[in-house]
């Protein structure tokens, strides 16, 4: 049986599944329910200076898929709207009652050292295992010079991280905003400031939909709306890339990463860990389905690890990083060609119209005497783009078959077609 326990920058947890700083971790009642359900840790909903933030109504909206499944989720909530005293008391009690679970406290304060200096001892006193600096929330608090307004300026990231390291012995995790051009810069800044780890991604600026009758975006507050922070499964690809960018950056190599963004099942978790995450944080999936989803994550991940022979999370953490590279290092001599399994083809024609209209005209439509359609790949036209495989509604009907070109590895920097190739 695989060992799911982790030690993430000194913070021990029975499994890598943490709840991210968000509504599910706003108070003891929820966090206790989460621990009862089996979550390995929580990042307590961001604390700030008193008086506590005040929220509006309504707060959430969604980007839906075909069957009203939530693809993406948007919120305009601020940090905790409960007093510091109550939060600290509850954190203390919960940590005391659940000593084996990771208790990380998220913080957001103005960019002046005294705020941090005063707050950090209070957090330490709760018995919490670490702090997470919220440099990511892109709505509301950022207008007040906090959240993503800090995360978007690497110098501020470094400065505040340094203050925190100076005023607490607890591990400091810096939570990064994706609303930035190159996520490696704030990660490097965090490391320079002494951060023990980074966590990412926070939410992405978003407007999910509009009420076209009222001409107001969602969620509606009175007669207007504002952009929110986007999360849920739609952001997973963005988060995975940002995690990988930091994991494979030589300047931040080895910096622990807590992966966040659209995680909903064990496979998502495995992917984040394979790209370098040491723990993962979940919010939207829990908000949509409840805390019970952690059971499937635990079972699925451990079954998969057993199958693969990984005894611990560390054994496969970062295993996909060496295979994630810059475009210029890709093999120009590699070639795949689409293959349509006629036995499972249902003649829907989707691959044909996609290729014919928008790609390389590499699929032929034959009309048989019976009127039936037959779709065949024109192999010498196929560039191996995967579009037909993606549009095909039947699993494994279209496969991309690697061709034996007989040619050795050659990347673009070596390619004679590249006028700026490196000299041999």
């Amino acid at each position: 049986m695989a060992d799911l326990s982790i030690n993430f920058c000194g913070i021990k947890s029975p499994n890598p599944f943490w709840l991210a700083s968000a509504p599910p971790t706003d108070k003891a009642y929820n966090v206790v329910r989460a621990f009862e359900a089996g979550w390995g840790g929580v990042v307590w909903k961001t604390l700030g200076e008193d008086p506590a933030a005040v929220n509006v109504s309504s707060r959430y909206s969604a980007h839906y898929g075909n069957n009203r499944e939530v693809l993406g989720f948007n919120n305009i909530e601020l940090i905790t709207d409960r007093s510091l005293t109550i939060n600290l008391r509850e954190i203390t009690q919960v940590k005391k009652d659940w000593p084996d679970r990771a208790m990380v406290v998220s913080l957001m304060l103005p960019c002046e050292e005294h705020y941090w200096k005063n707050m950090l001892p209070l957090i330490e006193a709760t018995g919490a295992d670490g702090i997470e600096l919220n440099f990511g929330c892109p709505h509301g608090m950022s207008e007040r010079g906090m959240g993503s307004a800090v995360g978007q300026v690497p110098e501020y990231v470094e400065m505040v991280t340094r203050w925190c390291k100076a005023h607490t012995k607890l591990p400091v995790i810096v939570k990064l905003t994706p609303n930035i051009t190159d996520v490696r810069l704030p990660a490097r800044a965090a490391l320079a400031g002494g951060a023990d780890a980074v966590s990412l991604i926070n939410t992405i600026n978003s407007i999910t939909a509009l009420d076209l009758d009222r001409m107001i975006a969602l969620p509606v507050v009175g007669n207007s709306s504002t952009h929110g922070g986007y999360c849920g499964s739609a952001v997973k690809p963005i988060a995975l890339n940002m995690v990988a960018e930091i994991a494979r950056d030589p300047l931040t190599k080895g910096l622990p990463i807590s992966g966040i963004g659209g995680i909903g099942n064990w496979r998502d978790v495995a992917e984040f860990i394979a790209l370098g995450a040491g723990s993962v944080q979940v919010c939207t999936a829990a908000m949509l389905h409840g805390f019970r989803i952690v059971e499937g994550m635990k079972d699925g991940l451990s079954r998969w690890m057993d199958e693969k022979g990984y005894r611990s999370v560390a054994e496969f953490s970062g295993k996909a990083i060496p295979n994630t590279t810059d475009w210029k290092n890709l093999d120009m001599n590699y070639q795949v060609i689409a293959h349509i399994d006629q036995g499972s083809c249902i003649q829907c024609g989707r691959c044909y119209v996609a290729c014919e209209d928008t790609s390389h005209q590499s699929i032929a439509q034959h009309i048989e005497a019976s009127g039936a359609r037959r779709y065949e790949v024109i192999e010498h036209e196929c560039v191996g783009c995967n579009l037909c495989e993606i549009t095909c509604p039947v699993e494994d009907c279209i496969t991309m078959v690697a061709q034996d070109t007989g040619k050795a590895y050659m990347n673009w920097t070596q390619d004679p077609r590249n006028p700026r190739r490196e000299a041999r």
């Binding site: 075909n66 069957n67 249902i346 989707r350 359609r373 509604p393 039947v394």
Partner: protein
Amino acid sequence: MMIESLKHLPRPQLSNAELSGQFTDLAPALSARQAIIESARCLYCYDAPCTRSCPSEIDVAGFIRNIHDGDINSAAHGILKQNILGGSCARVCPTEILCEDACVRNHHAEGQPVKIGLLQRYALDHMKFASHPFTRAATTGRKIAVVGAGPAGLSCAHRLAMLGNDVVIFEAREKPGGLNEYGIAKYKLVGDFAQKEVEFLLAIGGIEIRYGQTLGGNLRLKDLHGSFDSVFLGLGLGASRRLGLTGEDAPGLLAAVDYIAALRQADDLTQLPVPARAIVIGGGNTAIDIAVQIRLLGAEEVTLVYRRDAAKMTATGHEQDIAKANLVSIRTWAQPQQVLLDKAGRVRGMRFEKTRMEAARLTGSGETFDIPAEAIFKAIGQGFDCADIDGLERDGDKIRVDDQFRTCLPGFYAGGDCVAPGQDLTVQAVQHGKLAALAIHRDLMAKMEAA
């Protein structure tokens, strides 16, 4: 409408409300949520097989995508521009042998087509147009006679009106709709849907209907020829074929279509004569329709007898299942031999001869059996019942037309069940009417240009 032939039989036991409850929608309408879920199942195929298999050329994948996108009016418009009777077709089409049979989701692991018929009905039940969705082109000054206010005639009239022509429809009966009004099983087209649909169709304007106009009776083809620029014949097949047996006109023996018409027109179902035991002869959808409906009215034993095996029945598997679900017994390989009469000369049953295939020919085996029954319903096909089409060339017993629906008489066109080849489907009739209208209009315009 009194059913003279059965007036000696008892009336149903149930109240009118209870009987009416038996004739609600066979396939209940989709709710909004169900329509969204079902439309999401559509793969939006390219060169979609459902569209290719629709006799009226509806862009099925397109209208389903409109439904999914929440644009019901575009869905409805897309259906109606190809098939102005899309509402009744959504209910009566044998989708199981047309679009839904072609749906790619029948394949392999899924084995479940998208419910295209129900989605079409959903679009048309929920469309909201401020006025009729089609407008008439500038007037051509042409006037066209349409004989028959059934699906073919109505479809033809609507398209002709749309193209700017004026139309007069001559209808023998007192209501429009043809088989939709008089012939479809009551649980497939419920309530007054057929009339509502005709009202909607006529709202385009430029169409007048004259009732009680019987071809061969008070209506002559040659008169029409003089007063109209063109004539479209959507006559249908009004006459039931005869068995050719002694006793064929005895009380208790009648055409299924006559009973169905009476049932559809009856305000009070308790006044319908219902036999305790009934025999239905035939293997088509009409045979199933009468068998099921007479069961629903309270007949205890209904036996459908067909001379070949079930696979040869023109009633689809889906239709046969409806009959079985309503406990209709289906006997195959037997043909009528003798109408059995009681002392009063009324039907008391029928003697059948068993049949078999011999050298690829259906032959009687000589072995007989009797089925007792108070009523026998013939559902062995329909033919012409008007005398005034003698000038028209035939293909078999149907009117011969070319690929533009022109008959041999200049200016006369025909379509629907009365022409060959026809599938005897409502949707086919609608398509004929539409295409004939286009041909008529084109021919008239060509003539005007030449003049």
